[in-house]
Symmetry: C2
Subunit: 365 residues, 2 copies
């Protein structure tokens, strides 16, 4: 029986072989460069996919919330890092998790540092998140006053242990010159390492984002790489040049419910609650919410003539169809949709179906 | 103990009193106009909120998928309609549900009609969905050939029973003149009723969308109103003039994790996995992913100075803050965010916390 026989409604498919190839490629690259790969697991959010990753030498992962960290704990990881400015309201949950796990959090201000000094009952590591140009979050790289305030305050508690500096250069997602962003990131982390390593000889520096980690070869003296999306990739990463469309390892199987030959459109059950609403907009303003692939017993193939989701609402998706797709498709068929943003799609769907028909876990929403 | 004491992470709050007022207002309007209110329950997706609705005379609801219909069944509704072009792959699930419930589906083509004729084992009603200008889905209002093909084919099975015509004029969401869209919708449904009621004397016509149902007073001879979003409303509806911001009955409580006085920005734990990524863009191109309200023991208040989410990623949200908000906020505080699209936010969150501290159910994602 093919996995296809199990599908009657929108279902997120995962290709284990493509996923493993993506993990292996990044693990090989990290190894070649003498770096430790500590992937962000907000993309996969899965124990089973974590077990695949362990086969390529990955020993530590990153979560983006306490809830996700709770899910990832107890699975044999050497350490779990929570890469989000720590939310002091969750100190009790952190204390509980830290009883049995090696955890680290991210600090960006004095208020939260002080709250942890006052409230921690178990040992927790911390990274100071650095902003070297992205502008979303983090201590500005030149704000040594704040860095030292955080270090000095944290030092009041032996429970709170400095691990190093974390930098997420998210502007690789929109800056055309990723090498330039990385030069900035490398320099920032190098400078901080030079400045603080006499006082903290074990400090590490970590940089993480898929567009950069996928295309950059020279990571300088950065110690750890922390990309997330590379495990699956998606159309946004293909657009950014991080991967080929053939490297995308998840795809939403959707039922065809209507066909308009006049408008060259196909209506599917598959909308914002399945794919999320991330979108690529081309230079003419055309929106793309996902691209069609053909499903077969062995997985999927990317057609030569592109068909794409031109619009989605809560449950509906409208495909702008190529002539060849229109000529072959029938109501009741299943098509595949490569997602624009696989992290969000996986979070919406909450589970994966493998191509050999097994359900694979994802942290509950 | 206040409901606020239960919150440490992003939590969707619901005001029962505002929700009840929204339901009552629409129920009163339907009654005043002699129409039956059969709301789309894709917004609330909740048994408990369904129980509130029943107190205002609502006896039938609408789902947008078989999965949602399964959730809504068994709750004492007189009928559940699935307002989505029926997906023939789900005929077995439909048969099973129809054993014990009065169900109707939506048909837009001959292929699915024939598959139901062949596959139905229990009685199911059907509406023909009509497109009178929206262009997303439905049989074009003047395509009598297709309408009659569907009716003739359906007549081969005594299990498949014609109920009437359903029209979702979703273009009220972007057309400035809602009265004009409604004139078109009313005329389309009136014409179809005149044409087919001698053959089908019990046929009903249903029109459903919140922007229209909220502002239109004259529904002509339409029998049933099927809006969904009005139960909660949201900022998109406020922007469209369907409601005041004070009518929005759900709000995401979010922890403040960092504050940048220089940039006048506040970082919250609250992103696309909580709010979804629906956005309002103003004439200057500024994006708005939600607006800040102040939480108190009794609910929330809308500040005079507007602060809004200028950007969100998977878990992060960045608030562009007013001076008064900046002057009062601290790391570790909770703020409220009114959502842009409440249906999507509720679907992301999967549960509600009431202002008296009770958890309220939502169909599982």
């Amino acid at each position: 029986m093919s996995y296809l026989d199990q599908i009657t409604s929108p279902t997120l498919l995962i290709s284990e072989s493509i996923t493993r190839a993506n993990i292996k490629r990044m693990a090989d690259k990290a190894k070649r460069n003498g770096k430790k790969l500590t992937p962000h697991w907000k993309t996969a959010q899965s124990h089973e996919i974590g077990n695949w990753a362990k086969e390529y030498g990955i020993r530590e992962v990153t979560a983006s919330s306490i809830k996700m960290a709770e899910y990832l704990c107890g699975q044999g990881w050497d350490a779990v890092h929570i890469a989000f400015p720590f939310n002091p309201l969750e100190t009790p949950e952190l204390n509980q998790l830290a009883e049995s796990e090696s955890l680290s959090v991210q600090l960006v201000n004095l208020a939260t540092t002080q709250k942890l000094v006052d409230g921690l009952t178990n040992k927790v590591g911390f990274f100071i998140e650095i902003d070297a140009g992205y502008g979303r979050t983090g201590v500005h790289v030149s704000d040594f006053g704040l860095i030292e305030d955080i270090l000095r305050t944290a030092a009041k508690s032996e429970k709170l242990q400095f691990r190093g500096f974390y930098l997420h250069p998210g502007h690789t997602y929109y800056m055309p010159d990723k090498a330039e962003v990385y030069e900035q990131s490398r320099q920032a982390l190098h400078m901080l390492k030079m400045k603080y390593q006499s006082e903290f000889p074990n400090l590490v520096t970590r940089v993480g984002d898929t567009p950069g980690c996928a295309v950059i070869e020279d990571f300088g003296d950065v110690d750890e790489l922390g990309p997330g999306n590379f495990v699956f990739f998606d159309l946004m990463q293909a657009e950014l040049g991080s991967c080929a469309k053939e490297d995308i390892s998840v795809c939403l199987a959707v039922p065809v419910v209507d066909i308009s030959k006049d408008r060259k459109e196909i209506l599917i059950h598959g909308g914002g609650v399945h794919l999320a609403k991330d979108v690529l907009v081309d230079t003419d303003g055309n929106k793309n919410f996902g691209e069609v692939v053909f499903l077969s017993e062995n997985g999927w193939t990317i057609p030569a003539d592109r068909s794409y989701l031109k619009s989605i609402s809560q449950e509906h998706g409208v495909i702008k169809a190529s002539d060849s797709l229109l000529a072959s498709v029938k109501v009741g068929d299943l098509l595949g949709i490569l997602p624009i943003h696989s992290c969000m799609t996986a979070d919406c769907m909450g589970a994966y179906l493998s191509l050999d028909g097994k359900w694979i876990d994802h942290c509950e929403g």
